[in-house]
C-alpha cells in the first residue's frame, strides 16, 4: 500500500501555509478596510459636496428673497427683523421639511436628504450681522451697525475691505427728522440718511447726494454694465449693507455622532453678501415710472434720442424706430419691428420673444461678453430689482400721490417721495368755484366770477443745496397771509403784485357741459408770471434769492387731487409765463403741480438776445397734464429729457405725444425733440452746463452680490 505521509508534509509546510493564509487574509482585510474607508471618505465627500451645493442653493434663494423683501419693505419702513424673518420663513431657510408637519405625521428621528438643513429652531440664526443678529452691517459711518466699526466674529475676520466693498457713506446730520437708532434697525431710515462722503466718489452734486458711479455688472440694461478698465457711468446714490450668512448643517460623521463631539461634517462657511440700493434720478433721454409707448407714427422725423430708454413701470411697447437700449421691469412687447442696439427685433406682442430660450442663447453667443442685451427686463438678472419711488396710499405705491401732499401727518417716506415737501415755494389754491370768468363762445365776461384764495408757503434754502433727500413740513416754512379775491370785479392787488392773474382760457367753445372733458372747453386758470412772483416773494419774506427758491409747487386740493379727480370745473388750470429766461435760477428750477399745466411761452432759453451758448440751468416740470398754448397748435421744440410718472388715464403713455391747450393733439410734424442724457451731477454754471434739476422722478435699483475676497 502506498500512502502519503500527509502528516509529515503538513508538518513541513503548515507554518508557511498559515503564514500565507494570514498574509492573504490580512491583505484582504486591509483591502476591504481600505475600500470601506475609501467608501466612507467618498460618502463624506459626497455629503460635503451635497451640503455645499445645497447651501449654495439655499444662499442663492435666500438672498433673492431678502432682496425682494427689502424692496417691498423699503417704502413702508419695515424693519430688518421683519424683512429677514419673512425671507427665511418664506423659503424654509433652515429646514426644507417642516418639522412641525413631520411631528404631526408622527415621523421622528429621520435623517433628511436636505444636507443643508441646520436643524436649528431659529431661522434667523444663519444671519450673523450686527451683534450676531439678523440686522445687516451697514456701509454708512456714524450709524451703530457701521461695518467698519463692527467687531468681527472669530469665523468672519474680514468685515470691511475697501478694495472689495463700496466706499463708505456718511450719516447725514443736517436733518434732525431722522433717527440714528431707527437707522440701525430699519433700511428705509438708513437709506434716507446716507450721503456720499465728500470727494468719494469724486464727481458729486452740491449736497453729496448724487455721484457719478460705475453702473453695476448686471444684465439689466438701464445702462451697459461696467467692465474692468471700461466703466460705464450713471448718476446715482448707492446705499449698501453687508449680510453675513452662515449655514451650519446638522450632518455629522458617524464617529462624531458616536463620540458625541457634535463635529459638523460641513464646517460653517460664512459668506458675505452686499445688498445695494441705487437711487437713480431720471437722467436718461426717456425714462419713467409708467408703462411707455416708444416710436411709431406718433413720432416724426424730428425726434432724436441719444442714450437708453428705461422704465421702472411694467412694460415698454416698441412701435418702431432705432434706439441704443431699452429696459423695462417686466416685458418689452415689440408691436412693430424695431432696432435696438444694432439688433432688429421682429414684432412680438407677447413681450418676451426677445428673451425666449434659443433666442437668448443665440444673442448671448453673438453679443459682446459681459454686456447687457439691447432689450432687457429685470428678470434677465435674478439678483436685480427695480422699483419706482412713489408715495404710499393704503399700503400700496400710488402714482397719483406723486403730485400730492400727504393726507395726514407725513411720514419720512412722504417727505422723501412726495415732491410737495421738497418744494421751497408752495402755492396753495382754494376757494374757487365753477363760475367761468370769460365765455369765449359768447364773449361775455362774468364779473361776478373769479373767486379765489391763494396761500403762499415759502422757505428759502440758505445753503442752496437742491439735492437734499428729505423735504420739510409746512410748519417749518413761512406762511404768508392768504390772498383772497371775491371776484374779478374786485381784484386783489396783492394777487397782481405776485404776478398772478385769475382769468380763463379762450378756446372758443364756452364752458364744459359737465366736469369733463375740460380740455376742449373754456376753464378758469391762474396765470403766474414766475420771475415776478419770485421777486415779490423775496420782498415779502425779506430774504432769499432765485438760487434759494429753486422749486415751486402749485396745487388746488393737494391732498386729494389728482387721485380723486384730475380736475373739475371748480379746479383752476395753472399757466406759467415769462419763463423764457430762467438763468437767475443758478441752482436750477423745478415746477410741480397737481393740476393741468399750461405753458404759455418759451421755457429756459436764456435772456434775449440769446447769448451762445444760452445760460440754461437744469430745470424740470412735473404735472399730470401739460398743455402747450391755449387755442393755437404750436410748434414744440423740446431739448432735455422726458420722465413719465403715471397719472389717471390710459396707459401705456407715449412720452412724446403732446397736446395743445384746446385738447388737440399736436402733429408729429410740429414736434422736434432732442433728447439727451444727463451725465454729470456737479452743480450747474454758465461755463459748466451740468447738473440735475432739483426735482426728478426717482427709481430704486436693488442689487445683491457675493463679496469676492
Amino acid at each position: 500500500m502506498t500512502g502519503t505521509n500527509l502528516q509529515r508534509k503538513r508538518s513541513e509546510h503548515g507554518a508557511s501555509l498559515i503564514l500565507l493564509v494570514s498574509i492573504i487574509g490580512l491583505a484582504f482585510i486591509v483591502t476591504v478596510a481600505a475600500f470601506l474607508l475609501a467608501a466612507s471618505n467618498a460618502q463624506d465627500t459626497a455629503r460635503l459636496a451635497t451640503a455645499k451645493v445645497d447651501i449654495a442653493n439655499r444662499e442663492d434663494i435666500l438672498i433673492r428673497e431678502i432682496l425682494q423683501q427689502t424692496a417691498t419693505g423699503m417704502p413702508s419702513g419695515t424693519n430688518w427683523t421683519t424683512i429677514m424673518t419673512t425671507a427665511v420663513n418664506n423659503i424654509d431657510a433652515i429646514n426644507y421639511v417642516d418639522l412641525t408637519e413631520l411631528a404631526r405625521l408622527g415621523i421622528t428621528g429621520v435623517i433628511p436628504a436636505n444636507a443643508g438643513d441646520t436643524g436649528g429652531a431659529n431661522p434667523l440664526s444663519i444671519l450673523q450681522g450686527y451683534n450676531q443678529t439678523e440686522v445687516p452691517l451697514g456701509g454708512t459711518s456714524g450709524v451703530a451697525n457701521d461695518i467698519s466699526q463692527a467687531s468681527p466674529p472669530t469665523d468672519n475676520p474680514s468685515l470691511y475691505n475697501a478694495t472689495v466693498l463700496p466706499p463708505l457713506m456718511n450719516w447725514s446730520n443736517s436733518n434732525a427728522t431722522l433717527s440714528l437708532s431707527t437707522a440701525v434697525t430699519t433700511p428705509q431710515e438708513f437709506f434716507l440718511g446716507s450721503l456720499n462722503t465728500v470727494s468719494t466718489p469724486p464727481t458729486q452734486s452740491s449736497g453729496n447726494r448724487w455721484a457719478k458711479l460705475p453702473y453695476p455688472a448686471t444684465r439689466f440694461g438701464y445702462k451697459q454694465p461696467s467692465v474692468s478698465g471700461s466703466p460705464n457711468y450713471f448718476i446715482a446714490r448707492r446705499v449698501w449693507w453687508t449680510i453675513p450668512v452662515v449655514y451650519q448643517t446638522t450632518q455629522q460623521t458617524e464617529e462624531a455622532i458616536k463620540a458625541g463631539t457634535n463635529v459638523k461634517r460641513y464646517p460653517s462657511a460664512p459668506a458675505n453678501y452686499v445688498l445695494s440700493v441705487y437711487e437713480i434720478p431720471s437722467q436718461l433721454p426717456i425714462s419713467g415710472n409708467a408703462d411707455l409707448q416708444i416710436g411709431g407714427t406718433a413720432w416724426g422725423s424730428g425726434i432724436s434720442v441719444t442714450g437708453s430708454i428705461s422704465t421702472s413701470g411694467n412694460q415698454i411697447q416698441l412701435y418702431g424706430g432705432t434706439y441704443n437700449g431699452v429696459s423695462s421691469r417686466q416685458k418689452v412687447p415689440v408691436i412693430n419691428s424695431t432696432t435696438v442696439g444694432g439688433v432688429t427685433y421682429s414684432s412680438d406682442s407677447t413681450g418676451s420673444a426677445f428673451d425666449q430660450l434659443g433666442t437668448r442663447e443665440q444673442m448671448a453667443l453673438t453679443q459682446t461678453p459681459g454686456a447687457a442685451a439691447p432689450v432687457a427686463v429685470t428678470g434677465n438678472d435674478g439678483k436685480v430689482l427695480i422699483m419706482p419711488v412713489l408715495p404710499l396710499r393704503n399700503g400700496a405705491l400710488s402714482p397719483n400721490d406723486f403730485y400730492m401732499a400727504a393726507p395726514g401727518t407725513p411720514t419720512h417716506w412722504d417727505l422723501y417721495a412726495r415732491p410737495y415737501y421738497r418744494c421751497r415755494i408752495r402755492i396753495i389754491i382754494s376757494g374757487t368755484d365753477s363760475n367761468l370768468i370769460y365765455n369765449s363762445l359768447t364773449g361775455v365776461t362774468n364779473t361776478a366770477a373769479g373767486k379765489i384764495t391763494v396761500q403762499i408757503i415759502a422757505q428759502p434754502d440758505a445753503v442752496s443745496k437742491p439735492d437734499q433727500i428729505l423735504g420739510f413740513l409746512d410748519s417749518a416754512a413761512t406762511l404768508l397771509p392768504p390772498i383772497t379775491q371775491t371776484s374779478i370785479a374786485s381784484p386783489n392787488p396783492k394777487l397782481v403784485s405776485y404776478g398772478m392773474n385769475y382769468t380763463s382760457t379762450n378756446k372758443g367753445k364756452g364752458p364744459p357741459p359737465g366736469n369733463y372733458p375740460l380740455d376742449s372747453y373754456d376753464r378758469n386758470i391762474l396765470v403766474i408770471d414766475i420771475p415776478t412772483m419770485i421777486t415779490a416773494l423775496i420782498k415779502a419774506l425779506g430774504q432769499g434769492s432765485p438760487a434759494q427758491l429753486y422749486s415751486i409747487y402749485i396745487g388746488s386740493n393737494p391732498t386729494i387731487e389728482p387721485a380723486a379727480a384730475l380736475s373739475t370745473t371748480s379746479d383752476p388750470g395753472i399757466a406759467i409765463t415769462d419763463t423764457h429766461d430762467l438763468s437767475a435760477f443758478t441752482r436750477g428750477l423745478s415746477i410741480v403741480t397737481n393740476q393741468t399745466l399750461y405753458l404759455l411761452d418759451a421755457f429756459n432759453q436764456g435772456p434775449p438776445p440769446p447769448p451762445l451758448p444760452p445760460p440754461q440751468p437744469p430745470t424740470s416740470i412735473y404735472a399730470p397734464q401739460i398743455r402747450y398754448s391755449i387755442s393755437v397748435i404750436p410748434q414744440v421744440n423740446l431739448t432735455g429729457q422726458v420722465a413719465v410718472v403715471p397719472t389717471p388715464g390710459p396707459t401705456p403713455v407715449n412720452p412724446l405725444s403732446f397736446t395743445s391747450g384746446n385738447g388737440t393733439s399736436i402733429s408729429s410734424s410740429n414736434i422736434i425733440a432732442k433728447l439727451t442724457e444727463v451725465t454729470d451731477p456737479t452743480p450747474w454754471s454758465v461755463t459748466s452746463p451740468t447738473g440735475l434739476p432739483p426735482i426728478t422722478a426717482l427709481s430704486l435699483l436693488f442689487t445683491v452680490e457675493k463679496e469676492q475676497n
Binding site: T505, A575, T577, A602, I626, S629, S631, V644
Partner: protein
C-alpha cells in the same frame, strides 16, 4: 362852518379837476402803459412783446383797460401797424365792440387779442416783425376825438410759418 364849507368846496374842485386816467395791464396785471391825458408817445419804439411773452403765443393775450374819471365818451381801437406819434389812429383802425362807453368810470374792458385774431377782426401777422397797436380814444363834448393812451405789441419770435414756437429746454415730467 365856513371852514368846513371851504374844505368841501375845495374837495369838490379837486374831484372835478382830476384828469381822466387809463391803465393798460397785461395778462398778469402788470402795467403796459398808463397815461393821464397823454397821447401817442411811442411811434415805433417801446414795442411790448408781452402778449404771450416773447411772442411765442398770442394765447391769453388779454389787455385789460381801466378807465377812470372819464369826462365824456371813450372807446378802444386796434389796428395792425405801429403808432404814429401825435397822430390819429389810421383809418383802418377798428373800434372794438363793447368798448364804447359814456360812463365816468366804466367797467374794465378786456381786449382778447387772440379772439380778435381767430375771429378775423384783425388780420394775422405777416411775419415776426408785424406790430399791432391799441389806443383808447376819448371824445369830448364838442365831438373832438383824442388819443388818451396807446400801446404797441409784437410777436418777434414767430417762425416763417407763422407758428408760435415753444422752445423748451427742461426735463419734462409726463409730457
Amino acid at each position: 362852518m365856513k371852514t368846513i364849507l371851504f374844505l368841501l368846496a375845495t374837495l369838490g374842485f379837486i374831484v372835478n379837476m382830476q384828469a381822466s386816467q387809463v391803465l393798460l395791464t397785461d395778462l398778469t396785471g402788470q402795467p403796459i402803459n398808463t397815461d393821464q391825458g397823454g397821447g401817442n408817445q411811442h411811434q415805433g419804439s417801446n414795442i411790448y412783446n408781452g402778449l404771450g411773452y416773447l411772442g411765442t403765443s398770442p394765447d391769453l393775450a388779454l389787455i385789460t383797460i381801466a378807465r377812470t374819471a372819464d369826462s365824456s365818451e371813450s372807446y378802444v381801437v386796434i389796428w395792425q401797424g405801429a403808432v404814429n406819434k401825435n397822430q390819429k389812429p389810421p383809418a383802418n383802425a377798428i373800434k372794438l365792440p363793447g368798448s364804447d362807453t359814456t360812463l365816468t368810470n366804466p367797467p374794465l374792458f378786456v381786449v382778447n387779442f387772440s379772439a380778435l385774431l381767430l375771429a378775423g377782426t384783425i388780420p394775422p401777422p405777416v411775419d415776426a416783425t408785424t406790430i399791432y397797436s391799441i389806443a383808447v380814444i376819448e371824445v369830448d363834448s364838442q365831438g373832438k376825438a383824442s388819443t388818451k393812451t396807446s400801446a404797441q405789441f409784437g410777436f418777434p419770435y414767430l417762425n416763417p410759418q407763422l407758428q408760435n414756437t415753444f422752445n423748451i429746454t427742461t426735463q419734462l415730467g409726463n409730457g
